[in-house]
């Protein structure tokens, strides 16, 4: 890999003093290899090994227990002929795009607002973050109530005199995903805000002073200078948000249980339902293999670009 060798060369040339005291060049980076051992083991044995295991068993008819009854592509054929799965991936695409965009925007704006030397920063930060701490089971129920047509928001507005007001997302198959999105954003934006805030705090205050001296406006400073500098933070945030989207499960179960009908089903729920509800591990593994495949197709080229290319400032 380009980075690694490049990096090695740079440090060789610049750290001759350090090297002089270490006769064996091979072991120069030994400590870093030792320090990375737990991570390498996890990556290779658990995640890579576990993925292979899952893929292998997706070609079997495993039911309650993983067993080697080879059935070829049967599980995949069934998967792609199941209406619920097709609905699931459409829902995920819709929810995923909206959730990614809104979480990033809201998270960053809130962090920027909090970073304006305001009073009560602790209070505001805790308010935006607290939903992250509460279990999904009950927060799903709360949003179910708030969005309930009879005693939630719709009911309140109608009581105030606007009789024709209609806001009933959880019982309307066409817009149920937006009902989930409202709760999902409420739950997830606080953490992204925190990450953004940590990123903002990692930026040298002098940058701001310099920008002011150069006469650059606040918004422009954010867009032109701060955001490009926070690139690694945004990468972290995007990975965090997308991994949450792919794994979206508890919220759906708590808020709609996939309904009305199958209109708010998502892939992770399909996997869980197949594995533990239907006692058909093979089907669940086939579905999760498809999910992982799409992740790998997106992630690996990106990773090559990110790590394989030249290092960025």
């Amino acid at each position: 890999m380009a980075v690694a060798s490049d990096e090695g060369r740079v440090s060789t040339s610049r750290t001759e003093t350090a090297q002089a005291r270490r006769p064996v060049r091979l072991f120069r980076n030994l400590m870093s290899k030792i320090a990375l051992t737990p991570m390498i083991l996890t990556a290779v044995v658990v995640f890579f090994g576990g993925t292979i295991w899952t893929v292998v068993y997706s070609f079997t008819s495993s039911g309650l227990l993983p067993r080697m009854n080879w059935v070829g592509l049967d599980q995949y054929e069934r998967l792609w002929s199941t209406a619920k799965w097709l609905v699931s991936i459409q829902n995920l695409a819709l929810y995923g795009i909206l959730s990614l965009v809104f979480t990033l925007v809201i998270g960053f704006v809130l962090a920027a607002l909090l970073d304006r030397k305001i009073r009560f920063e602790d209070t505001f930060r805790t308010i935006f973050l607290y939903p992250f701490a509460l279990s999904f089971i009950v927060t799903g129920l709360i949003w179910q109530w708030i969005l309930n047509p009879d005693f939630g928001i719709q009911g309140i507005v109608r009581d105030m005199g606007w009789e024709s007001f209609t806001f009933n997302p959880l019982n309307d198959p066409d817009i149920v995903m937006y009902g989930l999105l409202i709760a999902g954003l409420w739950q997830g934006t606080g953490l992204i805000m925190c990450i953004m805030l940590a990123g903002l705090r990692g930026i040298d205050e002098d940058i701001w002073k310099a920008a002011r001296v150069d006469g650059i406006g606040t918004v422009k400073t954010y867009v032109r200078i701060i955001i490009p500098m926070m690139r690694p933070v945004f990468v972290t945030a995007v990975v965090l948000i997308t991994s949450g989207i792919i794994k979206l499960y508890d919220l759906v179960v708590a808020q709609t249980s996939g309904g009305p009908g199958i209109s708010s089903e998502v892939p992770a729920k399909y996997v869980m339902q197949a594995m533990f509800g239907g006692q058909n591990l093979g089907q669940g593994f086939a579905a999760s293999t498809m999910m992982l495949l799409s992740v790998v197709i997106i992630l690996v080229p990106w990773a090559l670009l990110e790590f394989g290319g030249r290092k960025r400032g």
Binding site: V3, G8, N29, S32, P38, M39, I40, V46, F47, F48, P66, L113, L114, D115, I118, E121, D122, T126, I127, Y130, A133, L134, S135, I142, W143, W186, G190, I195, L197, A198, G202, I203, D204, D206, I207, K209, A210, R212, D214, R224, I225, P228, M229, P232, V235, V239, L240, T242, S243, I246, K247, Y249, V271, M272, F276, S288, M291, A303, F307, G308
Partner: protein, 340 residues
């Protein structure tokens, strides 16, 4: 366009005595208390806060009502008569199966699981992130990419492979231990001890460390990557090694990211239900198992007020962590160190 590179020369030219160490946010200082700008700022924050607080409000008032009032159906109305009975019940009386001592039963178990899991998982993630950012070696990024894929696997899918893995590892370690032990002692039965990874807190700590790793390593790696290389290289020229640089330079600069990682780990581990229930035994179940049993019963009446109180009670620990650790969201240390 002003990019960071040209700015740095400007920085050097401006006031060098800036370091307000350990203090407050960036951005220009607000001018007047009631300027239109401030009204906009606080107005936005307060309106957004209302969206975030609405569910909390509903939970709070519901938890203070009795069931008769809840059945009347107005979720927004304040309780006509405040009762703390649901809170008492959630904490110490609600039945979660045969045992009727509410959430209190699992509280200390949760603490016992939380502390080692958070410390170990964060330490390993921090060291790994540091290595990946500053001590790359050939292939390290390949392993990191592999790890990142792990962030996208629904962890329920990994349940059985991990169970089998822990069983086998436990058996393997037992064999090693008994073989080694037998070399040193001849006494019959002296080496009967077994290494139990599955069904013990140590197994659970390992599992939390594994599943917290992708996100937290990414978090630390990307944060450390933003620390200027000059600083790091200067330290190496001065003869500082792997650990010295980590402890003396990197660690003091990474308080905000440690807070973020801490928030993720404390919340994730405290709220974890599935791993807690799979990898321990009944007497070690964490508090979330009781929470689940209170709020998630399929049959029978649902006591919404107790459910709300139980949820809020369970959330108190992470909430406290958020509130107080937030004070570590400081800046300036990094800036000062760079210039020093």
């Amino acid at each position: 366009m002003a990019n960071p590179a040209t700015l740095s020369s400007t920085i050097a030219a401006t006031d060098p005595v800036t370091s307000r160490l350990g203090e407050g946010p960036s951005g220009p200082r607000p001018r007047k208390a009631l300027s239109p700008r401030n009204i906009m700022l606080y107005g936005t924050l307060i309106i957004v806060s209302l969206y975030y607080l609405l569910p909390l409000y509903v939970m709070l008032v519901t938890s203070l009502k009795d069931m008769a009032e809840i059945r009347m159906g107005n979720i927004f109305s304040p309780p006509t008569e405040i009762t703390f009975e649901p809170w008492v019940k959630a904490w110490s009386e609600a039945c979660t199966g045969v045992n009727c001592d509410g959430l209190s039963r699992g509280f200390w178990n949760s603490v016992r699981i939380l502390i080692p899991s958070v410390i170990i998982s964060m330490t390993i993630a921090l060291i790994s992130g540091y290595t990946l950012a500053k001590w790359k070696f050939k292939g390290s990024e390949v392993f990191f990419t592999m790890l990142l894929v792990g962030a996208f696997i629904p962890y329920q899918v990994m349940l059985y492979p991990i169970v089998i893995g822990l069983r086998e590892t436990g058996g393997f370690l037992t064999d090693i231990w008994q073989a080694t032990c037998n070399v040193f002692t001849a006494a019959e039965g002296a080496c009967r001890g077994r290494v139990q990874l599955f069904g013990s807190i140590s197994g659970l700590v390992i599992v939390h460390t594994i599943f917290g790793m992708p996100i937290n390593v990414l978090l630390f790696r990307n944060y450390f990557a933003a620390i200027p290389d000059e600083l790091f290289k200067a330290a190496r020229v001065d003869g500082a090694g792997f650990w010295q640089i980590l402890l003396r330079i990197i660690l003091p600069m990474s308080l905000p990211i440690i807070v973020v990682s801490g928030i993720i780990q404390v919340t994730g581990i405290w709220n974890d239900f599935l791993f807690g229930v799979v990898y321990t035994r009944a007497e070690q179940y964490p508090m979330t198992v009781q929470l689940n049993n209170i709020v998630n019963s399929v049959q029978g009446i649902k006591e919404y007020n107790v459910n709300m109180a139980a949820t809020l009670l369970t959330g108190l620990v992470p909430l406290t962590v958020y509130f107080f650790s937030g004070r570590l969201f400081v800046r300036g240390i990094a800036a000062g160190a760079v210039k020093g």
